[in-house]
Amino acid sequence: MTSLVPPPMPQARTPVSALGPDTALPAAKRDIAPLLLVPVLMLAMLPFVGSFPTWVTLTVAGLAMGMMIFIMSSGLTLVFGLMDVLNFGHGAFVAVGAYAATMVLLPMHGWLEADSLLMNLAVLALAMLVAMFVTGLLGWAFERIIIMPVYGQHLKQILITMGGMIVAEQLIIVVWGADQVPLPLPTSLRGAIVLGDAAIEKYRLVAVVVGLLVFAAMFLVLNRTKIGLLIRAGVENREMVEALGYRIRRLFVAVFAAGSALAGLGGVMWGFYKETLTASMGSEIMVMIFIVIIIGGLGSVGGCFIGALLMALVTNYVGFLEPKVALVSNILLMIGVLMWRPAGLFSNARR
């Protein structure tokens, strides 16, 4: 939480051994335990599920759902990590993105129904781009109008961003109406492909591919570009980034808009996954998004990715094995992870 007195630069001074500067190489510590969680969980569930084809179906379903949740939550974790901004209105971008896509999908429904994979994918890609553009723009305005005045004040951030979310929901109803909007899948993405005895829904494969592409793109940007370096450094210590001469405010606005655009993309994908849109879809998914970024460690994109996959896989496995427990499985997962790592799977050095 913020206090009146700005804290000194974080990062505790490590006690220094009497060793000189040239002594032994420090062990290159790579924290791989959280990376192993996903495959371990998948393998551990195989005997419980019993049948291999069912396990494949559940696992692919979980991975697809996880990828979509990752796309929706990745922006939020960076926004929090970089500027300590709690945005409870993030779900609004998810809903607006999905609805914005209908501006393309409804007039071009002929392309959706065409029996051509190429045409289907083209209209899908166009819808995604429009959704990202609209939500990116909305995110930029949201940052300027709603977040900027409450900089550094967590309580006010929570209140005003929740308010922003309610306004956005009502605006969706004003613009697109209060009724559910059906969003059928494009013809060639309906149904499943059968591998041996396992049925895998085609759309889920698309979701996995898009999710992997987004993750790879984010990974490359964060690790291979100067902007990415600045974001990673800013998550750790934004004061020092400013002391090096960079205007972190501008960077933050850009990250906020990009995160909103990703939420919009995730919204389109989630809409197709559910095949209907409701104005409240954003607030419904917000709970899952928060669980994921808490599990992952606030500010960590990698943690967010693993957290999203874990949560979705657990939801699918538990939904199959013990449907009654499915409602609380997310919370149980979060409790378990936080008991192991109280700051999330990958906690950044700041707190």
Binding site: V5, A12, T14
Partner: protein, 251 residues
């Protein structure tokens, strides 16, 4: 090893002038009218006991805390009201007391960020390796894995990754072993050969007495003494009066 020297600027005007600077942090009145001049070139030392306001002074110069009154003139320009990034771009580099190396980033990435005007200058990096050889060895290691002394080297190297007019260094020897302090002394000697001006905050008098050209002593948010380092080193009475036991006890 030293860099080529640029033509000497007008030596008369100080590079940095603080007049009547007051800084409040919350309800605390930390700087209570600081007047300080840092001459162009060379190494100026700021001494003072814990809580005297030395760190606050550096943070105020850097714009990390806003002065509530007074003026900060740097290189002929008022910077007291500028934001931190603009102050940095005016040519001031900062090594905070916490070092604030980016521990998730490698040593190289820390340096890349510091080179905001373009790619890293290879020759300059080699020059830095000359006095901080550990950095060459750990170039591709996450900075968070380094020891405290090595982190201090990263923090200093980052501040000099590109030539800057003024370098603010906050207690670089704090918590470091004598062997590492020796290599810091060597590094500062090398830096003094360049035309970067250094303002070094310390409590460790033995570390700075051979390095400093000028010295100012701070107490209770004010400068209580300013003069040549030589005069303070030669005058035991003055040392006793200004620095007292609190500094003697630090090595």
């Amino acid at each position: 090893m030293s860099e080529p020297t640029a033509p000497a600027p007008a030596a008369a005007a100080p590079l940095l002038t603080l007049s009547g600077v007051h800084t409040h942090i919350g309800q605390y009145h930390i700087l209570q009218g600081v007047d300080l001049q840092v001459p162009r070139g060379g190494l100026a030392v700021l001494l003072g006991r814990n809580g005297a306001g030395k760190t606050t002074l550096l943070r105020t110069i850097m714009g990390l805390w806003q002065a509530s009154a007074g003026s900060v003139k740097f290189d002929g320009r008022e910077i007291g009201k500028l934001a931190t990034p603009d102050i940095a771009q005016a040519g001031i580099a900062y090594v905070p007391e916490s070092m604030a190396v980016f521990s998730e980033l490698t040593v190289r990435e820390n340096m890349l960020l510091a080179a905001r005007n373009g790619p890293l200058d290879e020759a300059r990096v080699e020059w830095i390796f000359g006095f901080f050889p550990a950095l060459k060895k750990f170039w591709h290691y996450p900075a968070g894995n380094l020891s405290g002394g090595q982190k201090q080297m990263v923090a200093i190297a980052r501040a000099i990754a590109e030539p800057r007019k003024l370098l603010l260094v906050d207690e670089p020897t704090k918590g470091l072993a004598p062997a590492i302090i020796q290599s810091l002394i060597a590094a500062f000697r090398e830096l003094k050969e360049t035309d970067t001006t250094i303002l070094l905050v310390e409590q460790n008098f033995s570390f700075v007495k051979s390095l400093g050209d000028t010295v100012a002593v701070m107490d209770d948010g004010r400068i209580v003494h300013a003069g040549a380092m030589r005069d303070l080193v030669d005058n035991q009475d003055l040392q006793q009066r200004l620095l007292g036991l609190s500094l003697d006890s630090h090595q």
